[in-house]
């Protein structure tokens, strides 16, 4: 069996937070990520989807140890890195990189593209063969930027081009794993496909693994081999792409899929829609039992008291629900 690039075991990240008025400050805990298990094989893409605030970004950042995990294990290429010190993490950083959602905020506006991409080598103290300048130009070319624009500043580029700068930075050190946090969400529809294709090509070329975080199920469906559906910090369902999209078993997955609009009017008119009631509950105060019970159309008493465990229901298919949907 191939060894996974990344393995998470019961990963949790909780934040302490204060809320309430000035005088009656309440200390609370936000269970942003409350137990994720996953494996990513070399060359594979795992998509992480769910609604705003369900913990996707936190999960991605914790994997890269930008946040200290609260509980659980992160195993990278067979090595337990959960509690590695900053210093011991440094050489590993080259192999795990991140692409951010906002191509505007994630690039220092006062640095040229050349400096921005080149800095990746300086931080690791690496000199690429042929020198930094040459390598930067090669990288720019690879991600579809004009190498002649090496001295330009981020504001001189469009959103899609800025995202390409982010991609160039992420692949500079030939990483094994890239955590991509909503890498195309801020881009226009006509530009999204360009960046998605670039990520596809780079994966093929370098055998990269992606943890692809997004709320857009259409994009996730396109790029992923496996998909994990999160809700309020917890994994609801996890399966190979085909199983998850063709035969979703969790009520939330089913509702989520049915809510995605399809650009096909005739199909759209015929489609059955599950309209959920209410909004996402506050993560400060999640419902007891199954966290989805306040919006689930199949809820029963048991759901309000007993937390459903994430269970294997078929090879490569796991589910956390007391009353799952029948297999399609």
């Amino acid at each position: 069996m191939t060894e996974p690039i990344l393995k998470l075991v019961g990963l949790k990240k909780h934040f302490e937070s204060t809320s309430g008025g000035f005088f009656n400050k309440k200390k609370g805990v936000v269970k942003a990520v409350d137990g994720i298990d996953l494996e990513i094989l070399p060359g594979q893409t795992v998509g992480l989807v769910g609604e705003s605030g369900c913990g996707k970004t936190t999960a991605g950042r914790t994997v890269l140890k930008l946040y200290e995990p609260t509980e659980g294990q992160i195993i990278f290429q067979g090595e337990d890195i959960t509690h590695l010190s900053r210093k011991r993490m440094k050489p590993l950083r080259a192999q795990m990189q991140m692409i951010f959602q906002d191509p505007f905020a994630s690039l220092n506006p006062r640095q040229t593209v050349g400096t921005l991409i080149g800095a990746t080598f300086d931080i690791q103290g690496i000199t690429p063969p042929g020198g930094v300048k040459k390598e930067v130009e090669r990288l720019m070319e690879r991600v579809g930027l004009n190498p002649e624009h090496v001295n330009r500043y981020p504001h001189e580029f469009s959103g899609g081009q800025r995202q390409r700068i982010g991609v160039a930075r992420a692949i500079a050190l030939k990483p094994k794993l890239i955590v991509a946090d909503e890498p195309v969400s801020a881009l226009d529809v006509s530009i999204q496909a360009q960046v998605v294709n670039l990520l596809d090509d780079l994966q093929e070329e370098f055998g990269l693994s992606y943890l692809f975080v997004a709320h857009d199920l259409s994009v996730v469906q396109h790029i992923s081999d496996r998909v994990i559906v999160m809700y309020l910090g917890k994994v609801m369902e996890e399966a190979d792409k085909k199983d998850l999209f063709m035969s979703p078993r969790h009520p939330y997955t089913k509702a989520l899929l049915s809510a995605v609009p399809v650009p096909d009017p005739i199909k759209g008119r015929k489609r059955e829609r599950i309209i959920l009631v209410g909004d996402l509950p506050s993560p400060m105060n999640p419902p007891a039992g199954c966290v989805f019970n306040t919006r689930c159309w199949k809820v029963q008493d048991k759901c309000r008291t007993e937390i459903p465990a994430l269970q294997q229901i078929a090879p490569n298919h796991r589910l956390a629900c007391h009353f799952p949907e029948p297999a399609a």
Binding site: D188, S190, Q192, A193, S218, A259
Partner: protein
Amino acid sequence: MKPFLEVKNLSVSFPTQDGLVKASNDISFTVARGETLAIVGESGSGKSVTSLAVMGLHNRNAADISGEAILNLETGPIDTISASPEVVRKLRGKSMAMIFQDPMSALHPYYSIGDQIAEAWGLYNKGSKSDGIKRAVEMLDLVGIPEAAKRVKEFPHQFSGGMRQRVMIAMALVNNPSLLIADEPTTALDVTVQSQILKLLKDMQQEFNMAVILITHDLGVVAEVADRACVMYAGKIVEQSAIDDIYYTPDHPYTIGLLNSIPRVDQLEGKRLLAIPGQPPSLISLPRGCAFRGRCTFSRLVPNNRCATEVPNLDEKIKGHFSRCHLTEAQLTVARTSVGSRV
């Protein structure tokens, strides 16, 4: 009977230090009561600028506006572009209302939700403050805010994104407007909340027999809710028709490109996306000829380099189906299939 709104040759441009920004250029469309027209296009294509002009909300000192936007009221037609600001102000709220792109900036942070809805109601109704609040509770109830009587006293920051969007809808509908312009009403929301809001808008439209303009960049949303659509690119309408034609027989290379570039949850083959190369042009220095030229894969089919020299007109190639492109209908048929049609 004339459609409720008739927009004719509407143009809006902004003189700036860098030059004239031609944000909205020779726009014409109509919307009837009970009908939903979608305006779709990418960021900066002129969707909001166009609708703000209809609503009479541009600062006339900063914007050059020409053309007409005629509301066919029971009392007779009024052109919101040429009418005086006082007249247009009186039309807003009752004859036409708008839901803005960003609910947080459109709601006042220091007034309660109830006060804000009551104030909007008070513009057209004589009644006490408590009548206004009663009406606010009714509206919040209608848009599905639980415990409306209690929540009416709360402030915008105490509401979630989806609830704020509902409040915006309640406020826009409090005087039963004839025309509702909804500018990206669900873009900031999660999909499950988006489908709630879209359903709500549909129900309200039926209840009040409203003409609705839905502005969005999401071709999925358009397919689900619109009767007709205008596709905008670089300030102009490049295609306009009934909804099914836009999706099954698109008549403009930009629309064809857009449809090919979006991944779909209902198609699992995972084949490579067909991206549109390049990026939209600057509105200050639009290319000569067709604005889509630099990104169009089909311009070579047009003889004599006309794409570079001649601005295409918005022609009715097939009855009720307009497109702004030099290609003939026969060439477009080839174009649609050469990149893998979606039908």
